[in-house]
């Protein structure tokens, strides 16, 4: 699958990806999903739904795209990711541990007293976490600041930020959307984890953000739509985002809340509760396949 060879646009290209590599990523994601569910089970609290929906985006970024070095995680020229929907942090923690930012043993301590892994991301406590989030709606503004900083320093580093689809009901997101377009932040790529659900129900019932593509476009963004669980599509979209000049890119990633665990998929109930022993066993079993 020589996806990227046909789409070469200078040095912004990502390496071509083989079918074997994709299969390897899928295996990796299954392992990380097990980590997520184990972590939340052991913590007896947390947010599995949104962690599972965002996980594949994180996998593509952290294993295929971002220039990062866990051994030198404060390198000023590293790429940065902000998980603006901070409640999904078990997915980020699983990825960071697997990439070697901190020992895998940390995962067991999630949400426990004294843990470096707080209930929501804390940049002062967790290596690899670029911004503390948890109060929704703030990450895009911070990403803009990082993108401006990269530009001021003539650095080629890139800034990535992931927003929830419920999260974008926050007004600050649209202030930030205007800022990113005004300052032509083409070193910024945002993802919308479009799983259709928030806490109180389906987004379209609570307060619909549609039409999304038109909205972001009207705010001056380059907008792409992909299947947020499909690695080749995600990679292709990211490459197109990198090639975009003069505007930030929003990748609207269609996802499934609770992805990978059948009884959690599309279930509002799994936004913010931990599995019990039986549910945990069933979840692990499904993820072993």
């Amino acid at each position: 699958m020589d996806l990227f060879k046909s789409n070469s646009k200078g040095d912004e290209n990502l390496p071509a990806i083989s079918t074997a590599a994709i299969e390897e990523l899928r295996q990796k994601a299954r392992k990380l999903r097990r980590d997520v569910i184990t972590m939340i089970y052991k913590a007896a609290s947390g947010h599995p739904g949104g962690a599972l929906s965002v996980l594949d985006i994180l996998v593509v970024l952290y294993y295929m795209v971002m220039k990062i070095d866990p051994a030198n995680y404060q390198d000023p020229d590293r790429d940065r990711l902000i998980l603006s929907k901070g409640h999904a942090c078990p997915a980020l923690y699983a990825v960071l541990a697997d990439r070697g930012f901190f020992p895998a043993g940390f995962l067991e301590s999630l949400r426990k007293i004294g843990s470096p892994l707080q209930g929501h991301p804390d940049m002062c406590k967790t290596p690899g976490v670029e911004m503390s989030t948890g109060s929704l709606g703030q990450g895009l503004s911070v990403a803009n600041g990082m993108a401006l900083a990269a530009r001021l320093e003539n650095s080629r580093r890139r800034i990535y930020v992931i927003l929830g689809d419920g999260e974008i009901q926050e007004g600050q997101v649209w202030e930030a959307a205007m800022s990113a377009a005004h300052y032509r932040l083409d070193n910024l790529t945002a993802f919308l984890d479009y799983n259709g659900l928030q806490i109180d129900g389906w987004i379209r019932d609570v307060k619909s953000p549609e039409p999304l593509v038109e909205k972001w476009r009207a705010f001056g963004w380059n907008v792409l739509e992909v299947d947020g669980h499909d690695y080749t599509s995600l990679l292709e979209a990211i490459e197109r985002a990198h090639a975009q000049k003069g505007a930030p890119t929003m990748i609207i990633a269609h996802t499934v809340k609770g992805k990978g665990i059948s009884f959690m998929e599309n279930q509002i109930d799994w936004h913010g509760r931990a599995p019990n022993k039986d549910e945990y066993a069933r979840a692990l079993k499904e993820l072993e396949k």
Partner: protein, 315 residues
């Protein structure tokens, strides 16, 4: 800097000078750059100035991102908007993260004047003081503002610097060093101590002088840093004089008066009289008329001083 100058004007000038020496300084404003005087920096360093439009929440987040990348952002707007409007952003994206963001509010207190209550921040010190990691600074005049801007640029971590709109006379003696967290004993005394901050240092000095003619010896402390509070000097004054009068252009709830009362009640209880805005919103008027109406004058401080002496006797 010897002439009468608004603290916001001193801020603008200090920024320009510091901008030359410290290339990591960047400035953000929310459509008030002319009023906050960040326009002076914008003219000199257009590439390091970001007008974020009327989006205070977004501005705070953007500043956090710049700080997380090694820059020193100075963020300015009016006090009401810098603190109340963007509170959660300041709390979660700046204070919790210990990021090196300098929030400089230029229109605070009753002396915002004619714009009235919607624009008069009378609770901003309280809001900022309760945030962990936040330093809160209120300079007394233009000269001290100049010093304070440099001091906060060189310290690391979030700071709230509270400035004002009108021109104010210089009250800080030339050459008096400025150190964050170190209050200044401007006049010694043994019967009572005025603990003042910001532009109320001046009426406190005047009141102390007038009290002398009545054989009352009043000290005056300039508490330019409200957090961290200079506990040492405060307790020394409490022990020495036996009663304190706090003075601030801010609500008596949550600001300097509260901070002082909290400290002495735990460590060396003495009567504390709090002079400030008495749990009410402001209103339109000239700064002078408002200062008079709300009791931030030397005359009223004399009365407060005498009330403090009375309280001391009753104990």
């Amino acid at each position: 800097m010897t002439e009468e100058i608004a603290t916001r004007e001193a801020y603008g000038k200090a920024l320009v000078e510091l901008g030359q020496r410290m290339e990591k300084i960047v400035v953000l404003d929310a459509d008030l750059s002319n009023s906050t005087r960040t326009v002076l920096f914008a003219e000199k360093f257009p590439l390091r100035f970001f007008n974020m439009g009327i989006s205070e929440a977004d501005m705070m987040g953007t500043a956090a991102g710049l700080a997380a990348s090694g820059f020193i952002p100075f963020v300015s707007t009016f006090g009401v908007f810098a603190t109340g409007r963007a509170y959660d952003q300041v709390r979660n994206s700046i204070a919790y993260t210990k990021l090196n963001v300098k929030i400089v509010a230029t229109h605070t207190g009753i002396t915002v004047g004619e714009d009235g209550a919607s624009h008069q921040a009378l609770e901003d010190i309280a809001l900022m003081r309760v945030l962990p990691n936040m330093t809160v600074v209120v300079p007394a005049d233009g000269r001290q503002t100049y010093q304070a801007v440099e001091a906060i640029a060189r310290c690391s971590g979030p700071v709230y610097l509270r400035l004002g709109r009108p021109k104010v006379p210089v009250v800080i003696p030339e050459g008096l060093p400025f150190e964050l967290g170190k209050a200044q004993l401007l006049k010694d005394g043994k019967d009572l101590a005025f603990i003042a901050t910001g532009i109320t240092v001046k009426p406190a000095l005047e009141a102390a002088k007038l009290l002398e003619s009545e054989k009352i010896s009043a000290a005056v402390v300039n508490m330019h840093t409200i957090k961290p509070l200079d506990k040492e000097l405060l307790l020394e004054m409490a022990q020495k004089t036996g009663t304190l009068v706090t003075v601030e252009e801010h609500s008596v709830i949550g600001g300097l008066g509260s901070a002082v009362a909290e400290l002495v009640s735990e460590n060396f209880p003495v009567p504390v009289i709090r002079v400030g805005i008495n749990d009410t919103f402001g209103e339109s008027g000239t700064p002078e008329a408002l200062l008079k109406k709300y009791g931030l004058t030397a005359e009223n401080l004399i009365l407060a001083g005498k009330a403090a002496l009375q309280k001391k006797k009753e104990i």
